[in-house]
Structures are given as structure tokens and as C-alpha cells.
């Protein structure tokens, strides 16, 4: 027993190391459970949402009723996404997962475009730029992370592999991106904030659907 202890301790330390070192999607992080991965991506999405909210509130001080501005059309509006809890709970897991990935994918290109754009046009405060860049990176990371979770779930048989076909249908994404590039800055921020919240909510729902016992 005495020998076993250092071993377990070492392995615990190793796991901690993995937790700290492994970025989502890192191939070396095999020890992470699906729940761990979910917690990570949820936290990650939460951070993205916080950043986007900060960006949003900088751009739109609370006193302006910015919501009232008409003709705001997000490029992702065309996507059919669950707009309530019950819907999000009913939709098949695979589809929900696919939706999340689709949303993230839809923002990948517009975000980098947006970054280039605000770099040239100094309309936004300085730290907004850094925030936007950060967001861009994080969205990329998040997408990788969600893909990782998806892989894992698929490998464990939690969700079916039918997702593969859906994920590859990126053709629609291109047109969406073009649409996004036409958006004004404020619309862009507004829309991204909304979608980041969507992603977070879907991830949470997905997690609790898959692992209801896990702090849900």
C-alpha cells in the first residue's frame, strides 16, 4: 500500500499536469473525460461571451436602446437554431452538436475579417481590438475543443457518427460569411454576442443531456 500511494499521487499530479498543459484538442490528452472536456469548452464559451459582452457594452453604452435599432440582421439568422429550452432539449444530440459547430464555423471567417477591418478603421477603442483578436483565437480554440468532445463522444458511442456528413457541409458557410462581411461593426458585435451566448447555452444543455448526473 505504501508503494501504491506515491504512484497514485504521481498519477494525480500527472493528470493535473495534463489538465493544465493540454489544450483542448491536443492529442495527448487522452485521460480527460467527456465531462472534463465539456466543462472546459463551456468555460471557454463563457469567457468568449464575457468578452463579447464587454465589447458590446463598450460599443453600446446601456443608455442607448441599441436593441431598438431596426434592420439588424445577423448572418447566422438564417440558421434554424433552438430558441428555447424545450426545443434545445428535444433536438437530437448530434444535431445540437452540429449546430454548435456550425455556429462556430460561421464566425470563424467573419471574425478574422472583422479584426482586419477594425485594425484599419480605428472606430473602436484600443482594447476592443485586442479583445476582438482574443475572441477570434478563442473561437478557433473553442471549435477545436468542441470537435474534440464530439470525437470523444462519437468514439464512446454517446452520439452517432451521422454528424460527419453534416459537418462537412460547409458550402452554406461561405455565403454566410459573405453576408457577415457586409455587417456594420455594431451589428457584428451584437450578433456575435448573441451567438456566443447561444453556443454556451447549447453546450450546457448538451452536457446536461449527456451527463445529467454531472453537476446539472
Amino acid at each position: 500500500p505504501r508503494r501504491g500511494r506515491p504512484c497514485s499521487r504521481a498519477s494525480a499530479g500527472l493528470a493535473l499536469l495534463w489538465l493544465l498543459v493540454c489544450a483542448p484538442g491536443d492529442a495527448g490528452c487522452r485521460l480527460l473525460t467527456v465531462a472534463d472536456l465539456f466543462d472546459r469548452v463551456i468555460r471557454h464559451s463563457g469567457r468568449i461571451h464575457s468578452l463579447s459582452t464587454a465589447l458590446y457594452e463598450k460599443r453600446f453604452p446601456p443608455r442607448d436602446n441599441e436593441l431598438g435599432k431596426p434592420a439588424r440582421k445577423c448572418h447566422t439568422s438564417g440558421m434554424l437554431t433552438p430558441n428555447g429550452k424545450e426545443y434545445a432539449q428535444k433536438i437530437p444530440r448530434e444535431e445540437l452538436t452540429h449546430l454548435i459547430l456550425k455556429l462556430l464555423q460561421a464566425w470563424k471567417e467573419p471574425l478574422s475579417h472583422f479584426n482586419q477591418h477594425i485594425e484599419h478603421h480605428q472606430e473602436l477603442p484600443d482594447d476592443s481590438l485586442s479583445k476582438a483578436k482574443q475572441i477570434s483565437n478563442m473561437v478557433h480554440e473553442l471549435k477545436t475543443g468542441v470537435e474534440k468532445v464530439t470525437e470523444k463522444m462519437q468514439s464512446m458511442g454517446i452520439i452517432s457518427n451521422s454528424l460527419n456528413g453534416m459537418a462537412s457541409s460547409e458550402a452554406t458557410g461561405l455565403s454566410i460569411s459573405n453576408e457577415a462581411n457586409m455587417m456594420s461593426d455594431s451589428d457584428f458585435i451584437h450578433c456575435f454576442r448573441r451567438d456566443s451566448n447561444k453556443v454556451q447555452s447549447y453546450l450546457k444543455i448538451l452536457k446536461c443531456r449527456i451527463m445529467p448526473e454531472n453537476s446539472c
Partner: protein, 817 residues
């Protein structure tokens, strides 16, 4: 009456004036107005004269101006409500004069206030019924300070085109709500007032108001807020504007972002009046709702400003429920508070759809500032470091993560942090304290009862200074003696102590002689020390004085005494023996001293009584040398006297020592010398002290050793001393200088100890052989207790010689008691 003042001289005298009215506004002042008659074509003066019913005197009007022309104003000073005034106005011109009819005025009955002021009218609509509100203010007064009057009001109104007034008694209020008005009619309103029993004032000026006919369109309603309590449904509330006097319908309309279609509120009832409830079906997230409220009545409608809502961001949960506070003890018995709570029942946190974060705040009940703690997503929290004995108020609220707003605070929960944890410790300490004090008490009590033994155990008796002159150290060591006395020797009869000590001494002497001899040779007197206490204990049976501990204690005390007497010999001995042994030897020595002392006392039948005075002097002596001297002097006198008597009776031969004693005594009686002597002695002490660094141990040892030495080496020593003695006698003639007789040279005639100054020269007035005899005799007499006279005598002589030295024995004894 007033006619006498007028003389009618012709036809052109003025016409009769007429008093029109007299009036008081507020019972405190009043005015009278008159109407002049014809002036007869000449300028005419008017004079108002009045008299009071209580007196004959006639006064003229005090003030013609205040109330305007042809008037008289009676101010407060001229107004008495209990008086009837008889007032006449007189008109006078060059030709003659004319007077009015007299007017009798009772102030109380002529009170009539001015009309109320500032009447204003307003229509209001409540519950679709129109009211008219009339407001006014009380009449103004000339004297603003007396504004405390209570007026009663009356209001009258009528439609403008009608003749008949409708009069309404109002009471003391200055406003009135008129119901049952005809819509669309213009009304005229007036008010008047009355003060107590006086007359009604004039009606105020007219006010007109158009009552609206109630057919206007409603005002714009306002949407107050929208809120989703659980991120699944939401509700919006609005505030209606005025309804225009008609029943008004409210319609909530909304459209969603990106949709043209306008919907009406699905549920007006669920959330109460003026609200709209959107159930799950009608609630979508990540969509902006454009919400308006339309108020409609017969006359038209009005639409509120649009309200835009994204339900995701209007989530405000209900406060957490089932907040429980529980006190627990940690391992180290410190209490800590465990707070647990549950999310609001509406919130479905298990689905992951809504994640709540919590924040709690707490403060002591009487505190003012809340301490706020962000807890995160967990539903329990442990609080340490709460102040015991305080009552805390705790509240918790929650909010969805990343968006939405905080809920209301949960209801206040109270928790009393108990003090008993600390109290337990306190109790323990108190118990410990009580027990220890009890033990102390018992110990001190037993000390008091059996105290002397104990003290003797702790503080060994100190040998008397008979053999070696005891110096002023006693004075300086006074504190230690006080200590001893404080330790509880008080209650003991001094006699017994002394007797015992005497007995000890006698035996000790014997044993010492035998045992000390070898011990001295070996340089190890420690054996003696052991033996002596045993003997004393067994023999005397009075442990208080005898017990070894007491002896040792006494030794400490006695250290001080002979310090001045120290000699080189003693030091040598001490060095040889080493510290530990020296201590024991000291004890022995001190014991011996005391024994010697006791001998004295036992011999004297009057000792007990005499000792009482003795006891006290030393006590004082250390505080106040002069007093001490006096007291000791008196005591010494007594002793000396007795001793002398004894001596004279038993021994015809008087030695020069004794004589010197006498001399000294008398000198001491002479008194003033004492002071100087004490000074000298103190000086000695100071000089001596640096010499003996282990100050107190040595001297005692010395004493002891010296005595035995003398005895041991009796023959050779005596011879030497003999020669010296002659010098000493010479010295005695100068009493002040010769003070140190620390060694016993011989004992003469059983009774007399011959002392010699140890420091430089030792004198004995007795030859060698007698000394030997006396020493033998001494031993015998010790057994018999007869010899004490001898011992006491020299010791007293010493005292007398030295003054302060004398004190030592006597003062010492009492101190032990």
C-alpha cells in the same frame, strides 16, 4: 355725555356722523368705521371717543390710520374681549361739532374674519370618476404672529349659468373634494370662513372651472419592465396613463425581430393587472421583441413607446429559497457557519439551460455595513471567523451567469453565534483560578495554624549576635524580616519560641562541641547542620522554630546581620567548604545565634511581656531608624536593667565590659547619640558589604566557626586574648569606636561571656583557666538552662555598645514570630 363738548353756535356745524360697523378679524383687535355727515362747507375733523363699561374715563381712538379713512383701529393693547365699548364719533369744524349715536361694541360678537384666499380648483380622475378638488388658504391677518386661529369653512358652487348655489360645509380643512359633478359643465366656486362664534366672512372671489366631459382619448401608457424569472417565460408590465374619464382597454402588441407580423399579448391575466405574460411557447431567445402597449377608449387610443427586449438578457431569477444556517464545530472547536440554500424553484438549473451564481451578504444585527461574498455556482458556503456572541443577518441572492440581473435578496436569516465556546474556556480558567486560590488559602491557613513549624522549616532561626557583634545590617535587612513576620509567625507566643530555641541551643552546643570539632578539622561542618535540626526536632517537639526549612529561612535573614563582622578566617573557611556547605553551616550558625538569644529571654521571667515591645521595634526600625532606635532603646533598657540586676545579684564581680555596657546604655538613653550611631553603623555596613560578595552567607558561617574556634583552641587563644584584652578595656572607655565584639573569648562564672573584638584586636578580661571552666560550665548550664544570664549579659553589652548591634537579637526574635 359727549354733548358737553360741543357748543352749537350756528347752522353750519357738521352733520352727524354715523358709525357703520365695528368688526374684529380675530378677536384680538377690532376696527370701527363711520360715515361722515355733511361737513357744513368747512373742513371737519372727526374724533372717535370711547369709554369702557368698567370705568368712567373717556379715551380717544388710538389709531386712525390702520383701517383706512374714517376708521379707528384698536390694536391688541386696546382690545379687551370682556369689555363693552361705548363708542361715539364726533365731527368738528370751526363753527361747531356734532356727535354720532353711541355704538356699543362687544368684541366677541363682532368677530368677522376676512375671506379665505388663494382658492384654486383642479379636476382629477380616479377610477374613471371625475372629481373636483378645491384648495384655499386661511384669511390673512394684520398681525401675522397671531396665526393660530382655527377657521371653519364653507364652500359653495353652482354651474355658471344657474342661479342657485349649492353650499357645502367643509369643516376646518382648507381643501375639499367635490363629487357628483356634471361632465362638460363650467362651475363657479367660492369659499368663506368663520372664527368660532363670530360671523361668516365674505365669500371669497369666484373661481371658475370647466369640468371635462370625459371623452378625451387616454394618455400614453408606459412599459415599465420585462423580466424572465427562469429563462423560459417572461412578463412585461406597463403603467397606464390617465384614462380620459372613460373605461380604457389596454392592448399589448409585439413583434419579433425579423418578422413583420404583430402579435397580441397571449396572456393578460397570469401576471396581474397591466401585465402580459409570455409563456414558453411565446418566448424565444436570441430574438428581439418589439413591444408596445396601446390604450384605447371611446375617444381614441394612444400607444406607448416601443420596448425592445432580448429575453436572454432580462433574466432575473427569484431569490434563493430554503436558506439554512447551521453552526458546526471544527476540530479545534472553533465554530463555523454553514450556509446552504436552494435555487429558486422556478429555475431549472439541472437542465443546464440556466446556471445561477450566488452572492451572499451578512452583517451583525446592529451593524450597518453589509459584507458581501460572491459564492459562485455552489449552493453552500462555510463561514469562519465570525464574532462569537453576535447575531448575524444573512441574505443571499442569485443571478444567471454571464447575463441577466441579480434577484431580490432572500428573506433575512438570523443566526446567533454562541459565546459558549469561549465561555467554556473561561469556565475552565475560572475553575483553575478558584482552585488555586483555594489551595493558596488552605496553605496559608495551615501556615497560620501550624505556621511556625512551617516557617521554621522555610526560614531557619538566626543565631543571636551575642558572640559576634551584630551590626546595623539588621536595619537594612529589615525587609526580609518583615517578610518573615508576614509569613504568619504573628500568632505565636514569643515565649514558647524562645524557650524552644533555648533548648535547642543548649543541645546544639553540646553536639556542636563534640561534632564540630572534627568537622572543623575536616573543614566539613555540614554534618553538624544535619544533626542539629534532628536534635531540635526530636527534643523540643516544637517544630515551628526548629524545622530545618525554617532554619534555612532564618539563615537567609540572618545573613545580613553579621556581615560587618566578617573576618578573613571566615572567608577562608567558606571558600574551603564551598557554597553548599557554607549554607548549612550558616544555618547552624544562625541557629546558634537564636539559641543564644532565647537563652536570654527564657532566663528572664518577664521576658514574654518584655518581648512584645521588642517585637515591634525591629519592624519599625527598618523603616525609620530613629524610631527604631528609640524603641529598641527602651526595650534594651529593660533588658539591660534586668540583666544587670541579675548580674549584680549573682555575680559580685563586675567586669569592665559590663561597665561599658552601662555607659553605653546611659548614653543611649541620652538619646540623640542614637542617630549618629545609626549613621555610623550604616556606614559600616556599606563599607563591609563590598568585601563580602556572597554577603550573607559568610557572616553566619563565621559566627559559628568562630565560636567553636574559640572553644577549641581555648588555651592558646586565651593567652593571646589576654593581652589584647587590656587594650580592649581601654577601648571601652571610648564606647563609640569599639563596636565589634564578634568572638567569645571565654565564659566567666557560668554567666558571663567575654567577648572580644574580632576585627583587629580581641580582648578578654578573663584569664585562660576561668575561660576553660566557664566553657565547661556553659555546657552544663546549657543543659540546666541556668547560664543564660551570662550569655545575655555580654550580648546586651554588645548591643549597648554598638547601639544598632544590640538591636539585632531582640529585633530578630520578633521578626520570626
Amino acid at each position: 355725555l359727549f354733548l358737553y363738548f360741543c357748543t352749537s353756535l350756528g347752522q353750519s356745524y357738521p352733520g352727524r356722523p354715523k358709525i357703520i360697523r365695528c368688526r374684529s378679524l380675530e378677536k384680538e383687535t377690532f376696527s370701527c368705521w363711520w360715515k361722515p355727515g355733511s361737513d357744513g362747507g368747512l373742513p371737519t375733523n372727526y374724533t372717535l371717543l370711547y369709554s369702557k363699561d368698567s370705568e368712567e374715563k373717556i379715551y380717544e381712538c388710538p389709531d386712525y390710520r390702520t383701517s383706512g379713512p374714517n376708521s379707528c383701529y384698536f390694536d391688541k393693547n386696546h382690545t379687551n374681549p370682556w369689555t363693552t365699548y361705548n363708542i361715539t364719533v364726533m365731527a368738528r369744524n370751526e363753527i361747531g361739532c356734532n356727535s354720532s349715536d353711541p355704538q356699543y361694541v362687544d368684541v366677541t360678537s363682532i368677530v368677522q374674519p376676512d375671506a379665505p384666499m388663494n382658492l384654486s380648483l383642479e379636476t382629477k380622475t380616479s377610477a374613471s370618476i371625475m372629481h373636483l378638488w378645491a384648495k384655499w388658504s386661511p384669511p390673512p391677518l394684520a398681525d401675522v404672529s397671531s396665526n393660530s386661529h382655527v377657521y371653519h369653512y364653507e364652500l359653495r358652487l353652482k354651474p355658471e349659468e344657474k342661479e342657485e348655489w349649492e353650499t357645502i360645509p367643509v369643516g376646518v380643512q382648507t381643501r375639499y373634494k367635490v363629487n357628483r359633478l356634471q361632465a362638460g359643465v363650467k362651475y363657479v366656486v367660492q369659499v368663506r370662513c368663520m372664527l368660532d362664534l363670530g360671523e361668516w366672512s365674505e365669500w371669497s372671489s369666484k373661481r371658475r372651472i370647466q369640468i371635462p366631459d370625459g371623452k378625451s382619448p387616454p394618455e400614453k401608457p408606459t412599459i415599465i419592465k420585462c423580466r424572465s424569472p427562469e429563462k423560459e417565460t417572461f412578463t412585461c408590465w406597463w403603467k397606464p396613463g390617465s384614462d380620459g374619464g372613460l373605461s380604457t382597454n389596454y392592448t399589448l402588441l409585439y413583434s419579433k425581430e425579423g418578422e413583420e407580423q404583430v402579435y397580441e399579448c397571449p396572456d393578460y391575466r397570469n401576471a396581474g393587472p397591466n401585465s402580459c405574460y409570455f409563456d414558453k411557447k411565446h418566448t424565444s431567445f436570441w430574438t428581439i421583441y418589439n413591444i408596445t402597449v396601446r390604450a384605447t377608449n371611446e375617444m381614441g387610443s394612444n400607444i406607448s413607446d416601443p420596448h425592445y427586449v432580448d429575453v436572454t438578457y432580462i433574466v432575473q431569477p427569484d431569490p434563493p429559497v430554503n436558506v439554512t444556517l447551521e453552526l458546526k464545530k471544527s476540530i479545534n472547536r472553533k465554530p463555523y457557519l454553514v450556509l446552504t440554500w436552494f435555487p429558486p424553484p422556478l429555475a431549472d438549473v439541472r437542465s443546464g439551460w440556466l446556471t445561477l451564481e450566488y452572492e451572499l451578504r451578512l452583517k451583525p444585527e446592529e451593524g450597518e455595513e453589509w459584507e458581501t461574498i460572491f459564492v459562485g455556482q455552489q449552493t453552500q458556503y462555510k463561514m469562519f471567523s465570525l464574532n462569537p456572541g453576535k447575531k448575524y443577518i444573512v441574505q443571499i441572492h442569485c443571478k444567471p451567469d454571464h447575463h441577466g440581473s441579480w434577484s431580490e435578496w432572500s428573506s433575512e436569516e438570523y443566526i446567533q453565534i454562541p459565546t459558549d465556546f469561549r465561555v467554556k474556556d473561561m469556565v475552565v480558567w475560572i475553575v483553575v483560578g478558584v482552585l488555586s486560590s483555594l489551595i493558596c488559602l488552605i496553605m496559608s491557613w495551615t501556615m497560620v495554624l501550624k505556621g511556625y513549624r512551617m516557617i521554621a522549616f522555610i526560614l531557619p532561626p538566626v543565631p543571636g549576635p551575642k558572640i559576634k557583634g551584630i551590626d546595623t545590617h539588621l536595619l537594612e535587612t529589615g525587609k526580609s524580616e518583615e517578610l518573615l513576620s508576614a509569613l504568619g509567625c504573628h500568632g505565636f507566643p514569643p515565649t514558647s519560641d524562645c524557650e524552644e530555641l533555648l533548648i535547642e541551643y543548649l543541645e546544639v552546643e553540646d553536639s556542636e562541641d563534640q561534632q564540630l570539632m572534627p568537622s572543623h578539622d575536616n573543614g566539613h561542618p555540614s554534618k553538624n547542620a544535619k544533626i542539629i535540626p534532628k536534635e531540635t526536632d526530636s527534643d523540643s517537639g516544637r517544630g515551628s522554630c526548629d524545622s530545618p526549612s525554617l532554619l534555612s529561612e532564618k539563615c537567609r535573614e540572618s545573613r545580613a546581620l553579621p556581615s560587618t563582622l566578617q573576618t578573613q578566617n571566615v572567608r577562608d573557611v567558606q571558600e574551603d567548604k564551598g557554597g553548599k556547605r557554607s549554607w548549612e553551616t550558616q544555618c547552624i550558625a544562625s541557629e546558634q545565634k537564636i539559641v543564644l538569644f532565647n537563652d536570654e529571654s527564657t532566663k528572664l521571667s518577664t521576658w514574654p511581656t518584655a518581648q512584645l515591645p521588642d517585637n515591634q521595634p525591629p519592624m519599625f526600625a527598618y523603616h525609620n531608624p530613629v524610631d527604631a532606635h528609640k524603641i529598641t532603646l527602651s526595650t534594651t533598657n529593660v533588658h539591660v536593667a534586668r540583666v544587670l540586676v541579675g548580674n549584680e545579684e549573682k555575680h559580685q564581680s563586675q567586669y569592665p565590659i559590663i561597665e561599658t555596657c552601662h555607659d553605653d546604655m546611659e548614653k543611649q538613653r541620652g538619646m540623640e547619640n542614637l542617630y549618629s550611631k545609626t549613621d555610623q553603623t550604616t556606614v559600616q555596613v556599606k563599607q563591609n558589604r563590598p568585601n563580602d560578595k556572597p554577603p550573607f552567607l559568610n557572616p553566619k558561617l563565621m559566627d559559628y566557626v568562630e565560636v567553636h574556634k574559640v572553644r577549641q583552641d581555648a588555651e592558646p587563644a586565651v593567652l593571646l586574648k589576654h593581652k589584647e584584652n587590656s587594650r580592649k578595656t581601654e577601648k571601652y572607655t571610648v564606647p563609640g569606636t569599639s563596636k565589634e565584639y564578634t568572638k567569645v573569648s571565654t565564659v566567666v562564672d557560668h554567666n558571663i561571656l567575654v567577648l572580644m573584638p574580632d576585627s583587629r584586636i580581641q580582648h578578654t578580661s578573663v584569664s585562660q583557666e576561668p575561660a576553660m571552666e566557664t566553657s565547661q560550665n556553659l555546657q552544663q548550664s546549657q543543659a540546666e538552662k541556668n547560664m543564660s544570664y551570662c550569655l545575655t549579659l555580654p550580648s546586651k553589652c554588645k548591643r549597648e555598645n554598638n547601639g544598632s548591634e544590640y538591636m539585632d537579637p531582640s529585633s530578630f526574635m520578633p521578626s520570626f514570630k
